[in-house]
Amino acid sequence: MSDFSYEQVQHLAKLACIALSDEEIEDLKKDLQGIVKSVALISDIDISGVEPTTNPLTLPQHLREDVSGETLERDVLLEQAPECEDGMFVTPRILGDE
């Protein structure tokens, strides 16, 4: 595969919602390239007709009984919030300049 470009890493950072410095982007170009190259060897393995594994447990999913349980108190949860008001989380404005 081709090398990671500055723009490509910047685009991934935007998708991952992480602001990165120029220096971090340069480091990641190199690191991602190295890691992707090292995992590329799996493409040699024959996987035709093989089903993907999403969960290593082979047992059927076991659901608990559909009865109401305990939940955490709103006040207790809000104590950990960066900012709250009237029993709600306060967030920065959603609409920006874009």
Binding site: I35, I45, H62
Partner: protein, 510 residues
């Protein structure tokens, strides 16, 4: 105040010896916690195993246990035996950070199910242990707060991510610890520190309250100095939990019984497969030699040992470094500065710019690297080619194991290709990832696996021996490990864990 000799004696007891001594009335839980506190004061500045301590609440639990015992109440075996908990597991009222700046100061409003079980068993929790940030690393150098050092040689790493739990147990700061294992984070640190670390079958221990890293791979498990102690702790935390839909229902555990059975040293009828590919290039000669000595001990106890070729074993690491970052990138998306944890407000902040700035400042380099890698493998151009392909190769690897378990009861290989390396020695990510080459396959297949010390290398550092079994055969893992541990102790004139320097004595390994 206790004399120095008393303290030495108390902290070097195993968990089961502590339990027996308390039952007989020779020792109180308070005396144990006092001794551990004294040792922690002297040792923790050297190993830096702990992120936070909670001795005050530990003394309260200890006193309650001592009182109940004085009244003649029936108590669980582990009542009064202290434990430390990896800071990847949430503890009500005790700061839980996952060794990340993004969670600094977060005090969880609930307990993980396994922590509830520790409380039900009357176990005093002494501390939260250090780890690589969000359990992402193999040396505990990636903690946002400080690295942890190996009690066998303070210039070396204790392995990772659970280096804090392993270092605490092996340096006698605690007889028991809880860890989490996604690709080897319990077993590789056990290997580096001469302790015992066990990753249960996926689903045997509830993951509720374990901070998610890669949900199809994560498991909580026990860390201890002996197999018997690890088995006792396993029995205490295993079992179905309605709060974890991947936990296995109706499956009582009997690990301690199995460990005691194994101690007798009779392995006749047990078929042992040596994984042929987990050797050779990358594996040090000392590790290979130590491993083979362990294999000979298994044969001498009647096990039938044969080499087994595992065509896809070494591909495990490649599958892992596609699937794990994908799951990491998804699980880390919850840290957005909205409801808890760090919030960084850039000038004229919007929700999006606040999130990006918070994640920039809150996450360390390795976590960012894995989120970025995961975002890449899940992106539309790579999803089929990388992510789905890796899921299919995961199936191929699982089929290798299924075939092998038709001919073998357990599979064995070195836990880690080398013994503990020096702090700062491994900087390249891909080189660091190779530490987990032999531990990752068990996570991909959901198998139970244990690491116990097989001996020491030419530098006097512990060598880890890994035993894996088929899903839900955790008890068999404990049985074989217990037999091997006894044989290794006989050969080395005493247990390996007992050969570590006593760091609270001045002049030892300073």
């Amino acid at each position: 105040m206790m004399s120095g000799a008393d303290k030495d004696e108390i902290v070097t007891l195993t968990a089961s010896q502590m339990s027996e001594a308390m039952k007989k009335g020779d020792l109180s839980s308070r005396e144990i916690i006092e001794a551990e506190l004294e040792v922690a004061k002297a040792v923790d500045p050297k190993t830096e195993s702990y992120l936070a301590t909670c001795f005050n609440s530990a003394f309260m639990v200890a006193d309650a246990v001592d009182q109940a015992r004085a009244l003649g109440q029936e108590l669980p075996d582990l009542a009064g035996v202290p434990i430390v908990v990896k800071d990847m597991i949430v503890t009500k009222g005790v700061e839980t950070t996952a060794a990340s700046k993004i969670l600094k100061g977060w005090v969880p409003p609930y307990d993980a199910t396994c922590v509830e079980k520790l409380k039900e068993n009357g176990m005093p929790m002494l501390a939260k242990t250090n780890l690589d940030e969000f359990a992402q690393g193999s040396s505990t150098e990636n903690s946002a707060f400080h690295p942890t050092f190996n009690p066998w040689d303070l210039e070396r790493v204790p392995g990772g991510s659970g280096g804090g739990s392993a270092a605490a147990v092996s340096s006698f700061e605690s007889p028991l610890a809880l860890g989490t294992d996604t690709g080897g984070s319990i077993r590789q640190p056990a290997s580096f520190t001469g302790s015992v670390g066990m990753k249960p079958t996926y689903g045997r221990v509830s993951r509720y309250g374990a901070i998610s890293m890669a949900s199809s791979l994560d498991q909580i498990g026990p860390c201890a100095r002996t197999v018997e102690d690890a088995a006792m702790l396993f029995d205490a935390i295993a079992g179905y939990d309605p709060k974890d839909s991947t936990s296995i229902p109706d499956f009582p555990s009997s690990a301690l019984k199995a460990a005691k059975e194994g101690k007798k040293g009779d392995l006749s009828g047990i078929r042992v497969g040596i994984i042929a590919e987990a050797g050779g290039e990358g594996f040090s000669k000392d590790v290979t030699d130590g491993f083979l000595r362990g294999v000979n001990l298994l044969s001498s106890m009647g096990a039938k040992v044969e080499e087994q070729s595992f065509p896809h074993f070494l591909h495990g690491i490649q599958i892992y470094y596609i699937l794990m970052p994908a799951e990491v990138s998804s699980n880390m998306s919850r840290y957005d500065g909205m409801r808890y944890g760090l919030r960084v407000m850039p000038p004229d902040a919007t929700a999006a710019s606040m999130m990006a700035a918070t994640r920039e400042q809150g996450f360390g380099a390795e976590v960012k690297r894995r989120i970025m890698l995961g975002t890449y493998v899940l992106s539309s151009g790579q999803y089929e080619k990388m992510y789905v392909a890796a899921q299919k190769v995961r199936t191929v690897l699982i089929k290798d194991f299924e075939r092998a378990f038709q001919s073998f009861d357990v599979l064995v290989c070195p836990t880690s290709p080398t013994t503990a390396f020096k702090a700062g020695e491994v900087v390249d990510p891909v080189t660091m990832y190779k530490n987990d080459i032999a531990t990752i396959p068990a996570n991909l297949a959901g198998l139970p696996a244990i690491s116990i010390p097989a001996g020491l290398d030419s530098l006097g550092l512990p060598i880890g021996f890994q035993i894996m079994a088929n899903r839900q055969k955790d008890e068999l893992v404990f049985k074989v490990a217990s037999a091997l541990q006894e044989a290794v102790s006989r050969e080395n004139e005493g247990p390996i864990w007992n050969k570590v320097p006593r760091l609270w004595k001045s002049g030892e390994n300073d």
